[in-house]
Amino acid sequence: MAEELVQEILESINLHRSFDKNTPHVVINANQVLSSKVVEGLVIEPEERPDGVLARLRVLKGYKIKQPVHLCFGMLPETGVQRIILEVDIEDEAEVSFMAHCTFPNAVDIQHLMEADIRVGRNAKYSYFERHWHSDEGLVKVVPVARISLAEGARFSTEFELLKGRVGIIDIDYRTTCAARSTAEMKARIFGRQDDKITIREAAVLEGEDSRAVLTTHIAVKDQAVADINNEIIAKAAGARGHVDCKEIIQGKGVARAVPIVEVRNPKAHVTHEAAIGSVDSRQLQTLMARGLSEEEAVDLIVEGLLS
């Protein structure tokens, strides 16, 4: 039974042919752990709880995990709540990258709640790529909350992608605290349609000297979709550098709002921001139409580029 569910989840993310079971991974359906695999240096301790799944992920000191660790979070039922609690500890000098796939192929009314507590040790490296696969109909509510702590020299990057299917409601809340010489990169790329609602609050607090943060959000909304982006960088230490970048394309009756907040508390720190919201650039549109693309094809290509 578990094997069949794993197969169904992999099929929904188009990995059923290429997925190697020896790849380090965790596969979860609803609040049930279906499969997991570790490699030397990687510790995964999943624990089913009445209200969700607690997964402790640890990379031991100095280990560099070469293969990406796949995290497949599926919700195959039509309705229900999936709650995943992640406790991640990347010990000093360790390196790991995660490929997270969140899939809700049959969603009618689904909630996907994620609470992550992530610690990246001294000179450790952590990257996390999260791709969502939603159905074209139905309601999915996605609420990921992450609190991230970076030790000296740590490198952290996270990327959230939701381009296929309906967004439903998404409410991202990530906050990173950066020690000296650490770097944080947080990126989100989302395409909202119909009456989707997108809310993003990302923050980086540059506590340590020479720490760095870049927050990038690229959003497209069409129909009646609404996006509300609040990205914040606070620089407290000398040499801290940060940049907030928000670009949103609106079509139809879509509504986009961007509030980049930059706060600098040290004269030797420097933070910049840029935000651009608008319809598709007319010169871009005309260029592609002058090559024979219809207006709709041209818009799709421009949006695809922005969200790539």
Binding site: Q284, T287, M289, A290, L293, L301, S308
Partner: protein, 251 residues
């Protein structure tokens, strides 16, 4: 029959006449040039031919192979084989060069991307996966735009100031691409105020203040343009190249 006929074209912007009853014929298989000082109406003419939305409300008519295209939108004109290369090509954040070119290509084959990049003198392995964005110089974007035009295999190519913002080596590649277009049977209309670009044409039109001043073999037009237009202290002479040649607007 001419490939393109412009008949008594008029256009005003904010009540200012830009094109004043312009008529000309573009013959198939030749490289033509529209030459004239800045502000003469050259780019406006190209934009009107392409059917850009801000330039649709004009008087007169435009015939392509004898058929009026006045009511056709940009993409409909493009599907007839008409296309435009802009003086300042657009940037496309995140859009890969290969996708940009393939979107235009008649032959949807990745090998086509490499072929046309090579034709404009850009190494495919260096450029195909780059984005058509601010990381490319103006000259690189100009050549990539030209590559997309080559991939389209158009019948009539309007090139607005093809030498603008590019270095000498890139200009030579652009000129080679114009030769290639001609060899493939395409008709080219160069919009320029540069004698060097005018040299590429077989035939030229001289316009000023939206009027056709003269037309004919390129050397005749070049002589007139260099001898009379470039030294002219007319209000349409703001650009640096002209000032250098004439020793300044009052020179």
């Amino acid at each position: 029959m001419a490939l393109l006929e412009i008949k008594d074209l008029t256009l005003s912007v904010n009540s200012t006449p830009i094109l004043n009853g312009l008529s000309l014929e573009i013959w198939e298989g030749y490289v033509h040039a529209v030459v004239g000082p800045n502000g003469a109406g050259k780019s406006t003419l190209a934009n009107v031919i392409m059917g850009l939305p801000e330039y649709r409300n004009h008087g007169g008519d435009i015939l392509f192979e004898g058929r009026s295209i006045k009511q056709l939108k940009v993409d409909e004109r493009a599907r007839l084989g008409i296309t435009l290369g802009w003086q300042e090509p657009a940037r496309f954040e995140g859009l890969k060069v290969s996708k940009f070119i393939l979107a235009s290509a008649r032959k949807k084959d990745p090998a086509e991307v490499d072929r046309v990049l090579t034709l404009v003198g850009l190494e495919p392995e260096r450029y195909r996966n780059r984005a058509v964005d601010r990381t490319l110089s103006g000259g690189e974007r100009k050549r990539i735009e030209l590559a997309s035009i080559l991939a389209m295999k158009p019948r009539l190519v309007l090139l607005d100031e093809p030498d603008s913002g590019v270095d000498i080596e890139a200009i030579e590649k652009i000129f080679a691409a114009i030769d290639y277009l001609k060899s493939e049977g395409a008709t080219v209309l160069l919009i320029t105020h540069s004698p060097k670009v005018l040299e590429k044409a077989d035939h030229a039109f001289l316009i000023c203040n939206g009027f056709l001043v003269d037309k004919g073999e390129k050397n005749k037009i070049l002589e007139y343009f260099s001898g009379k237009c470039l030294p002219c202290p007319h209000k349409n002479v703001p650009d640096l190249q002209v000032e250098v040649k004439t020793g300044g607007k009052n020179g």
